[in-house]
Amino acid sequence: MLIRFSIVEVFLIGALSAAPTVTAAEQPVDFQKQIAPIFEQHCVRCHSPGNNKGELSLATFDNLQENEYVIAGKADESYLLEVVTANDGDPPAMPKEGDPLSDDDVELLRRWISEGADWPSDVIVRERSRADSSWWSLQPLADVEPPVSESIPAAWNINPIDWFVYAKLAEQGLQPNPPADRRSLIRRATYDLLGLPPSPEEVDAFVSDPDPQAYEQLIERLLDSPHYGERWGRHWLDVVRFGESNGFEKNTVINTLWPFRDYVIQSINDDKPFDRFIREHLAGDVFGGDDPNVAVGTAFLVAGPYDDVGNQDAEQIAQIRANTLDEMINSTGQAFLGMTLGCARCHDHKFDPITQRDYYAMYATFAGVRHGNTPLATPQARSERTALLKPLNKRKAELEKAQDDLKEKILKRAHDRLDHYEAIWPRPPVDRTGTEETFEPVVAKFVRLVCEAQDINPQATVFRVDEFEIWSAESKPRNVALATNGGRATGEARKIEDFPGAYGPQHAIDGKTGARFISTTPYLTIELAEPTPINRVLFSSARGEQTPEHSKFVFVADYRIEVSDDGTSWREVAHGRDRRPVGNKPDRPRSKAEPPTHRDHRLLHLETTDEERRQQAQLSRELNTVKREITRVPELPDVWIGTRNRDDAQGPFHVFLGGSPQKKGELVVPASLSPLNNVAPKYQLPGDVDESARRNKLANWITDPNNPLTPRVLANRVWHYHFGTGIVDTPNDFGYMGGRPTHPELLDFLARQLQQNGWRLKAMHRLIMTSQTYRQSSKFRDGAAAVDGDSRLLWRYPPRRLSAEEIRDTILSIAGKLDQTMGGPGFRLYHFMQDNVCTYVPLDKHGPETYRRAVYHQNARASVVDLMTEFDQPDCAFSTPHRAQTTSPLQALTMLNHSFTLDMARDLAERLQREAGKNRRRQIARAYELCYSRKPTADEISACRQLIREHNLVALCRVLLNTSELIYVQ
């Protein structure tokens, strides 16, 4: 059994241990009550299994005893006492940090040791977290009565939200603002729900609508718009750290994750109950039957960054795996529970009552999940595909067998005549450190090496060369291939887009070894400065290398050397076909997947009869036909929901002491999180239960009606997005280090409402947006600001800057260029390059294919994208609970100078001419309506007209797109 000290207990104990001990002198020292608190308060922070400073733990008696820090009955010989006692005016050696032990405490320790140092084996001393299970966010949702305020204005006496907000304002002597005007309101509400500006027509209609329910109808219209899901889906994608590249060193782009983005948008548009939505994130593949639209939710598990660089070091492999699961655990805790579970990875959480056991219970829960694709399809689609493939695959196997049989027959015949063939291979095999050919002098302008078979895989014809020398047939021969002698090398090479020459043919004639030409075709051609008599070539891939056998130096096996006068008609002057084959070791069984040996490759070529060639050709034709038919059977769509692996999920699972997979601590099983044991139904699963059951159980526990965190966290997020700041201003952290709720009762009221409304967000939006709190103006008042500068109590609606996505969408929208196509693969504002690792280079030109809403951008990690990055689009390495909102000169540079602004300015100008004709005044008025939902003042018209007059309408549009008013919502 494990003992944990609750706050209450410890306070009592603290009082006890600090009390004079005189009266207790007759009683033996009680370890648990008197000694353990001393260790807990002064020692275990550093000396615990997870920290283990000085290789010492005071969690249990073992270390103290082994090291003879404590010798039972002999206090004076116990080192422990020495280090905590002041000595000759020097402070005690321990504790290193914090106050020394009191004399009373030291005396207690002395007595405890003298009395035999009894430490019951079931008592483990642990450091106590700052908050315990009495922490506010861990309490059940309160059944709150909205407060009654005497002086509340009538309009504020309708929506319960206003009762809560007004009461808090009144406490501080604050009054709310009057309602916002209709122009501000429609702009605010439209951005809030759709992330787009209202059209001038929508503004006019709303402003002049005599219906007293006009505002409520507006909210309904907006909630019905498919753009709503795009806007609020984007919020959720931030929370679940959705990014479409795997990050880390390779940072490979992921092209199969967009179905999750579409699923999020669709679910939100459908107003899917959010508890179900959350369950689908964790276990949709488990309870959703085979419905791809449910299973896709589990892409949440693997939407984060992970390290996929191969590693052979076993300890590192374990560490990387632990990091990957840590990412899943953290993201789950933050997104749904507002808990920082990751802090309990190396030691018990220092602030919140989350133990390492809790953390590793989650580890066991997710252990079966790995990153990757899984084909998602209905059972029907699967069986259809299987039915179609079955006969084709059978036919394919038959044909392949026939091919192999034929090949074997030929080879067998050839092996019987091996002597004959070996006689025609008298010369030594090619040598990677230098292969030479001499021939009768010939005048050549061009010389080329043609690879007929590669030395590792003779069926391939690509190769590497570090140097290729061509020697003149002169009394003093020169290497005329050298670049310094006028040679010029050509040949298709492996390319790195942003560093083109890296593996180019120039390496073959630079007179230096070490760097190689890496061919992608069979040819390396060298053009000489002038036609020259030559009679010798020398070439290599591993000259001077100590380990030429390494595959890095892959070389030719069969080749020919050809010369030409004009670079088009070629004449062979030498070849390597009479060399012995490379690597001609005694036959070993080779799998069919492996290429044949070089010798067999040659033998097959030489031994096959014309008739057999015809048979082979026929088989190839048929095989190709079957393969074509196979590719015509539609693939099941791969989706990045990860893979599920029974082996990985095999326990037993342990706490990793100090977070190290090499240091296994106590056993753990999949279980609920202990901080909520008192309020939500806890569970423990057997360690060997199927991994799918573990996730399903967790999903149910997170969304259990008695789990107070999930609805609180979600209600707070909704509030956060409506008002810019949550009731708790740390939406991912409801723990000790996070913020406290400004309106705790309101938060619980909203959380209850959420549950009562079937976890549907649209009902929440209605409730919030119809409140006077939401509808009040954003007007600034000095007096109120003096009390509450951030308007956390909501004496005004807090204005906000648009997000990066909103800014781009707005510009496209007012320029009349927004492509409203929903869903499908994303577009890219970067150029993607891959050379083992990936590089993302921002585009200078954004074409019409990028004119979709920014939520459809394929956001890659560790990339920089013009406009989006500068306006604080997060990198999605972590869950982003809210966007930063910063201002920088870089924003100005991009908005002024990137071609996107210029294109949009031009499009907006065209639109103005189209919609407002040639009259400048009308053009300006139209522009103002489009950009700001208002009419220009006379001064504004005259200033704008001046710019058009002196320059042109496009110039004005460029200015308007750069204005602050465009990107701030009041």
Binding site: Q312, Y503, G544, M737, R792, V837, R861, L947, A955, T963
Partner: protein
Amino acid sequence: MNLREFSFGNPTRERGNSDFHPTIAIEDCNTLLTSNNADERLENDMSKTALDLSLLSRRNFLGNMYTGLAGVGLMHLLHNRAQADQSDWQPGRGMSHFPPKAKRVLQIFCPGAASHMDLWEYKPALEKYHGKPLPGEENFVSFQGKNGNLMKSPWAFAPAGECGKHMSTLMPHMSRHADDIAFLHAMHSKTNTHGPGCVFMNTGHPTEGFPSAGAWLSYALGSENDNLPTYVAIPDIRGEPPNGKANWANGFLPARHQAMMMSDQQPIRNLSRPPVISQAEETASRKLLDQLNRNFAEANPANTDLQARIAAYTLAARMQLSAPEVSNLSSESRATHEFYGTHDENDLKAAYARNCLLARRLLERGVRCVNLYCASRASGVDGLLNWDAHKTLKPDYERHCPIFDQPTAALLSDLKQSGLLDDTLVLWTTEFGRMPTHQSGTAGRDHNPDGFTCWMMGAGVKGGVSYGATDEFGRRAEVHPTTVWDFYATVLHLLGFDHEQLTWYHNGLDRRLTDVHGHVVEEILA
């Protein structure tokens, strides 16, 4: 702990990033607060109102814009935090916790894991035991697989400078700086993989998403020069380092703290006015824009963002003038160009040399932090384009070192001669080391996270010293093992910061460049 009151004008609070609070800088997550009752501590603070708009000068803005009305907040009630002792310190205003030795930082990064025992740390035992198994670790498996026997360095080491430090003869130019360098020979890393390793070396965390040291510096100090970025990353012509832009990212800090990328080969993005726009049109457009933005700001006086935005456009215009000037290397003398090697026949060397010269020009104009990469490409064929000499150490380093040696040494000499080195801290870093053995079947070395060398030089750093050592073969940090966190604790110390007090709240923790670790390496301080 001495708890002080909040300063309500504390500009560390950023609107829209409410995850950040004026905060106690938690010493580490072990630190205990003395009270659980925030209200008790803070009840007297309610009356304070301290928004002073005049603080929003141009300079403050660049370093540390308030974005929103930071002034009076009720939020302090809502956090269990106390203010750190350095309560009068404010980020982004050129202030430090205590008087600094260094005002700016040049960090030269050689990605791919530059080999300590072939460049900086002389290991005579490798010569003696060349070809013998590594005792206790015969045939051990590391990143790429099996290792062979011990392999001596292909290059001789020779004593350099008055201190007589043994340095590789492969870098004759660098050896003339031996007396100014403090080597940290017992560095070790948490990871054996380049990407996480580079990110760890730059951010103190092996996973992405954390701010780089330069971003922390930008946050802590703000700008010294209003016309240029605070933090510049100069990638190598061969490509971006492993994990790319995560190496100079702002992480969870606001976007403005990320490095601006530029090099001699690659100007700052979107810097130039598009050619289709005439100067006259630009001037008139900016005038109108300024007017419209001013009107809007005046109509919304409480929103300081709007004034910051006006300032941002002014600063952008200044940057448009300053950045081309700083990149214009032709104003340097011919002798300088020759000294750096900017016209070397080796294109790669010339390109790096030009970036070295650019780095000096940025530093002398007050850029706080310059990250200069050499042979940085993330991958490709091992060792060809970065320091990752898995299979062919000798030709690889005989290609890289001549590129690195002369220009780097020239840059250091130049900094020294001009006096800039007096208050500039130079760091040389790589993500981890290499094995003392050869990789099985090759003449190269595999990754070694257990021991490697970094060094420092310049402001506040003792020269001609070596701190710590790996074992006799170079396999593991043995004497005074030094972490990346120790490294940055020391760097921050030289810059006048207590690394435990420079924090930013993010998703549940007050995050630090040094995570929850780090000790200042006093032994190398001058």
